[in-house]
């Protein structure tokens, strides 16, 4: 349940395209990285990736200032990328949960089932994780699949 909830809570930033517009998107995918120390997570646009580092354009708390963060691959425990915005079924979660209230005793069964199923429906859409994509293939989902060109300063990337 926690896994489902965490993937549901993955934010969907503005730069993610609808699934219909995936071929004209010019940005990298959204990546959420969990570090091995389990205390830190990093999220933002995947700018580039190679065998040594993830380069992520993170958003700070005020969500206006973006900053490049270099995350060493060896310190990463796992990652998830979202490459498109799916249809939003989040309203189904409370709606179906409320429906269980009409089930009387059977709500003991239907309430958790409704919760699990609607959360699953809302998770996993247009998502890859370290379990099903290699670092080499992950490059295709970066803003610069070829790596950051040498003429570009990291702090100039927005």
């Amino acid at each position: 349940m926690a896994v489902i909830c965490s993937s549901c809570s993955m934010s969907s930033p503005d730069y993610l395209p609808d699934s219909e517009n995936i071929d004209v998107n010019v940005y990298g995918s959204y990546i959420s990285i969990v570090m091995k120390d389990a205390e830190h997570t990093t999220g933002g646009e995947l700018i580039a990736v190679d065998s040594a580092n993830f380069i992520v354009l993170t958003e700070t708390d005020d969500s206006l200032v973006k900053k490049i963060k270099i995350v060493p691959v060896k310190k990463v425990d796992n990652f998830v990328i979202k490459y498109a915005e799916g249809d939003d079924y989040i309203a189904a979660v409370p709606l179906y949960t409320l429906a269980s209230l009409t089930h009387g005793y059977y709500a003991l069964i239907t309430l958790p089932l409704n919760l699990i199923i609607t959360l699953v429906v809302n998770s996993e859409a247009f998502v890859y994780s370290d379990k099903n994509i290699s670092l080499d293939d992950l490059k295709m989902f970066a803003r610069f699949p070829q790596g950051i060109p040498p003429n570009i300063r990291y702090d100039s990337i927005k």
């Binding site: 010019v26 498109a84 005793y105 239907t110 609607t118 003429n151 570009i152």
Partner: protein, 534 residues
Amino acid sequence: MKTKKLIFNFALIIITFIAIEACETYYFRSNYKDANELLHRRDNSNVKPFLKAHLKNGDICIFRNTWNVDTVQNTVSGTGVRYDFNRNISSEGSILLSVDSVAIFETNKKLTGTGTGRVAALAILAAVDAGIGIACLTNPKACFGSCPTFYMNESDNFHYADAEGFSSAIAPSMEYYDIDALNNLPVTGNVFSLTMKNEALETHCVKDVKLLAYPRKKGERIYHSPKNEFYLCENIYSVSNAQVSDADITDLIRGEDRLERFSLADENNLSSKEEIFLNFDNVEDLNDLGLVIHFRQTLMTTYFIYSAIGYMGDEVGDIFAKIETSNDTDDKLKSGLGKELGKIDVYVRNEKNNDWELTDGLYETGPIAINRQILPLKNITSGSKVRLKLVLNKGLWRIDYVALTNIKGKVRPVEISPCSVLNKGKADNTALSSVIDPDKYLISMPGSEYKFNFILPQTGDDYELFLYSKGYYLEWMREQWIKDKDLLKLNQMVEHPAKYLRSEAKDYKIYEATMEQEFWNSKIDTKHFSYHEN
């Protein structure tokens, strides 16, 4: 189990459906390091995909489906948009690029129909939810419970409730106290806990919760009688033979196994009676015998309570106000429907007089927890055989167990008030003071759970335990009941119960045939609560 299985299977189908959908990998994106690779490896489909050219300087060009690669000039041309490295548009229209300026080409297949599986899964789930919802709204009596339920094991569900408190108290004026045998295992330690749950759409107003305890030695049991007396007993004589009409029901009522004997209601008259004949062939000591009986009701009385509220329709508030201010409500209920339905009357065979003599009756409202009571018998004639007859309303009672025992004497258990109350695992002193203070009520709302802790008098002793609960509950009016408003029928139910029970028989039979069976089929009957078997 049937309903549970059905819901589980539906859920399994939906989850599988979503899992397949979620696990589907969209191989929609391809990267090519040079133009030759792009031309040779790209699908030869008629529809040319949009082309992204990631330039070595960080810019990107997106060509619409009109792009061309000139292998002689080593260029890519077409119409599209060029963006800088921060993805601002730098030019639009015709674009001509040198292949050498391109770091990587990218093509993407269109993603279509990716949400179909999810929509289908939600649609199936909605259909299942609606189906269960309609079934419950049509026959709410089968899906919604009544009164507070008590559990020795807090993780148990209502199928394993150890007691249900004050089931008949559906208004403040009907408040009463209820005593239920907990049939507890030998006690270890001096702290005993009971969890009270509100598992229905009701407000429970609990005035008092106490534990009644009496020490027992090996081979002894203490039983509670319908007159709220307690008897210390020893020896158990199992029933040798039990008959209803021509049917042998001995196996059903010989053991404390939750395999219950019950009958269906008479299709013409809901107050029709039936007789169960019990033979005890090997009673070694005929002195001071008592009949131990484990029983509970079917959903028949729940049906009547919900029907009555339904008949009140939108006047339920006014009628309940009248009930509260009227002095004869209790009398009317006892002399009306209650009298027509009757108790489980126990008769003893007097061989000398060759007739049946009424001893007394047992009655407890509620279909959830099994009641375990004793009825002291009188006028047992000599010999080692005892013959009893139970007369009871058809379709109203479920009997799990009958046996005879010898009464050693009347005893008085000690009353123990809770020492602490836990609400969601945390001490709740307000709840504790509410149940201890005789002028206060603990208000329990749907979904609430309170764990009461009691300290037993003496560590190391074993105790027979009983629950004492006092209060009333308020049934939540449900929108679907308002359409059932029928004040004439309500009047008939209260003033002319015999006529009502005849006229309601057909409607009840429809309900009984579906929801009664469905509800109790979901019972999981593998768990044993018997003191003796553990």
